[in-house]
């Protein structure tokens, strides 16, 4: 089945970020979204460890280890950046000051529940800021492959893995489609043009509502 690359999913998510938006990108895959800001728009990126307005990684050898992001990676400062302590940082998160948070997922349920922090009781549990980031941003979006590596749906009726947050996700960008979560249901907005609704439904773990026209999900090679 044809599908979008991770870069293409990140590109699509970036198109919905407005000029001047304050944005938190989860560690890992979501960080790619920053690379695909449309020309003429500038978002301000927030990182949990107390920095607004960071830019790309510095060249190897010129890292300053007091200047890192939540993934402990070295970053640079953009004009207009600001530092603050951790309580202020999470006040920005929970206090509805961020416009968008974009996160990864193990599972997203049709009721908006998200599982993205734990695959079960084995090993050392670690949550970081995941449970905070799902609350407070005006939009909480997920970017993810549509199915797991084994081909199982990641968009499900109810999450089976430990929850990160309840009823928190508003939009999902997948390798096949763009889907909103409204009133506890998956609402299909865009799908790959070559993909039938039946085939998309077959790899989705809960019913897709199609209340109106479904736009073609067309993404350049990036």
């Amino acid at each position: 089945m044809e599908k979008l690359s991770n870069n293409q999913i990140a590109w699509r998510a970036a198109q919905d970020i407005a000029d001047g938006a304050y944005v938190n990108l989860g560690i890992g895959f979501p960080e790619k979204v920053a690379q695909f800001q449309p020309d003429g728009r500038e978002a301000i990126f927030h990182t949990e460890n107390g920095l607004l307005g960071f830019g790309q990684a510095p060249e190897a050898g010129s890292e300053d280890w007091d200047l890192i992001n939540a993934g402990k990676k070295a970053v640079t400062l953009k004009p207009g950046a600001a530092f603050f302590h951790h309580a202020d940082s999470f006040a920005m998160v929970r206090g509805s000051h961020l416009d968008v948070a974009i996160l990864g997922a193990y599972e997203v349920a049709e009721n908006g529940d998200l599982a993205n922090w734990s695959t079960g009781p084995k090993g050392v549990p670690a949550v970081g800021g995941a449970m905070d980031l799902v609350h407070g941003a005006k939009r909480v979006a997920v970017i993810t492959d549509h199915v797991t590596k084994k081909g199982q749906p990641k968009l499900v009726k109810r999450c089976s893995l430990p929850l990160t947050g309840v009823g928190c996700v508003t939009r999902v960008y997948t390798s096949l489609a763009v889907i909103d979560i409204e009133n506890g249901r998956f609402v299909l907005r865009e799908k790959l043009p070559g993909l039938s609704l039946e085939d998309l439904q077959a790899v989705t773990g809960a019913e897709l509502l199609v209340p109106g026209a479904v736009a073609d999900l067309v993404v350049p090679e990036v």
């Binding site: 107390g50 402990k72 302590h85 951790h86 309580a87 940082s89 929970r94 050392v124 949550v127 905070d132």
Partner: protein, 243 residues
């Protein structure tokens, strides 16, 4: 008034067995490596302090700083949000062997619990963790149609903190993102012990740029050119008991 102490050993001399110790930093950024190593030195010489409860965002990386403190066997419980790192072997092995307790706290909740401890707020409600395993057995309440989890304050006997500039009154500035948990921990500990890259006379910091007012700080020790955990790990450094 002068809160300056002469050396690192003097700065950590009052930390006793069983104390709760907040340690600033997020990963290596803002981590008071020299204060931690001074505490390990004391343990090596005297067998104390041990059975510490440590509060930090992480669980150490490699074999220096917080990881070395854990590796030395001085910590019986860790309260943190993310006990993983590039090299988390010390904590991971000890935890899986049952040698250390872990209280896992969402990062924003951890920060706010510390802030609350410093601000005299015994409990508060947050949306974070509602409906998840980490909210088990915690009181919940509805406010304006949404559900929230009650969380308790966190306080400590001592905080180990890294600052950039301190003055003799204990007013502090920080360097870039090394601020993170440090200002909160100064507030929440009975005794905030601060290592600063430079100490200036009172008046040497513009009051407009003070981040932590000196009222939250009890001891200041100068550590010029402080170590960075990331640099130490890239050099495969280890601050072990046998060192």
């Amino acid at each position: 008034m002068d809160k300056t102490v002469s050396d690192l050993a003097t700065a950590v001399a009052g930390i006793e067995d069983g104390m709760t110790v907040m340690i600033g930093g997020f990963g290596g950024s803002g981590s008071p490596i020299e204060l931690i190593h001074a505490l390990i030195d004391r343990y090596r010489e005297t067998g104390h302090p041990k059975d510490l409860v440590v509060i930090n965002n992480n669980a150490g990386n490699g074999h220096v700083g917080l990881a070395a403190l854990i590796e030395a066997g001085m910590v019986h419980k860790l309260i943190c949000s993310f006990p993983r790192s590039a090299d988390p072997v010390v904590f991971t092995e000890m935890y899986l062997a049952g040698g250390i307790e872990l209280e896992l706290v969402p990062q924003g909740t951890l920060a706010e619990r510390i802030r609350a401890g410093g601000a005299g707020i015994p409990a508060f409600y947050t949306p974070s963790s509602y409906g998840t395993d980490l909210a088990k057995d915690k009181p919940v309440a509805e406010f304006d149609g949404r559900m929230y989890v009650q969380e308790r304050w966190l306080k400590a006997d001592v905080a180990l903190v890294k600052a950039d500039t301190a003055d003799t009154f204990g007013n502090l500035t920080y360097r870039m993102a090394a601020r993170n948990f440090n200002p909160l921990m100064c507030m929440a500990a009975s005794e905030a012990i601060v290592q600063a890259s430079r100490i200036v006379d009172a008046g040497g910091i513009d009051p407009e740029v003070v981040v932590t007012p000196g009222i939250f700080v009890q001891k200041v020790v100068e550590v010029a050119d402080p170590l960075q955990e990331e640099d130490l790990n890239r050099a495969n450094a280890a601050y072990s008991l046998e060192a």
